[in-house]
Amino acid sequence: MDTMQMTLYDVLRMVIAFLLVITIVFINALVMGYLERKVAAKIQRRWGPMEVGLQGWLQMVLDGVKIIAKQLIVPRDADRVVFRVAPLLSFTPVVLPFLVLPFAKNLVGRDINLGLIFIIAVSSINVLSIFVAGWASNNKYSLFGAVRSVSQNIAYEIPILLSLLSVVLITHTYSMQGIVAAQGTVWFCLVQPVACLIYLVSATAETNRAPFDLPEAESELTAGYHTEYSGFGFSLFMIAEYANMFIVCAVATVLFFGGWHGPFSGEYLGVLWFLLKVFLLMLTMIWVRWTYPRVRFDQLMNLAWKYLIPFSLVNLLLTALIVKCI
């Protein structure tokens, strides 16, 4: 009876956490969509959305309603089942990592001791969804996007893992809370600046953001893997992209920028610091996106294999030596 109650409590906890996560993902997409448009507009010295609500803040809600009301068009020769599944598939991997993200000292879905590995493992599924979407569309441009996405993700998983390992070598734990707790005095972006930079660059590539947005590459592949998607399928991809951004920035915050640490971060108030850091990182990604041209595919690979991976390997080696000596 006792164990039964515990299970029920656990299930309830999981359900609440899951609902919260879904809400966060959607709200994050709304906020980020708005910020992206507004920051891009300001960078380009225009106003951006202004019509609906004060400073146009309701625009994204309205766009969401509009896009849900739109017809779902499936191309004639597309693989219908896979085509429909792909957006959902892109949604799963971006929801799961939220369960282990430490928002504050006591605010975490479940602090498992392999949290970091869990995030890396789950978010790798993302590339599968892009590939499936590109393949099922039966469109050559989409297929190009899919193929690019796969090789890009394979190349950039390695520097990400290596740079994260350098941090793990210091903390001796994979637990997200453990890593945050280790940064009470000094953030790891000061201890591991190279790993931090490598992670940020690779994370931009991992999330397919400009200047590494080759799977989408609007001017070359029209819109890459989501060329054929309309309505809600398309919006799921967009939501997934922003959620993905949130996750990589959250991981960066946890590993390099002290997580929820900050002045007056008590049991729960740390969430404010955490979100502030995550959103600052995401704003930087937006800022970068609206500044640079897109790199070419072989240059992207060059960057990963010739610069990021050797540098992260050397960095890992040095870290290991120093940790050993101390």
Partner: protein, 146 residues
Amino acid sequence: MSGYFSDLITGSKSLLVGLGVTLKALVSPVVTVQYPREKIDVSPAFRGHIDLMKDETTGTHRCIVCLSCMKACPCQCITVEGEKQEGVKGKVLTLFTLDFTKCSLCGLCVESCKPHAIDFSDEYELAGFSREEFFYDLLKRVKERA
């Protein structure tokens, strides 16, 4: 190998400079205008569609039905008709229409008009749901304005 590190350094520097440019723009004032809310003054030379001008002294148009605008128009979008009326010297204008769907706003008709009877209007908010809305009866328009 020689270019390996120099590429890295100059490249990173150029990227930072680029970020600086956009950051500066981010905090600079906006240059666009919120169009339906605020409007910019129309330049006096603006070429809208043509309109018959009202003569201040006579209170009506100045057209003498010489048909030179009709002849000058490369798109044949102007139709002018007149008739002889008793007691009036020359012809009297009975019809002056503009098919604005064909007009290319070149201004040749205005230049050809000796008595300066036609001129450009400064209307630029022209949108409609049907073709017919752009067949203007200029004679009627000048009378309505009077």
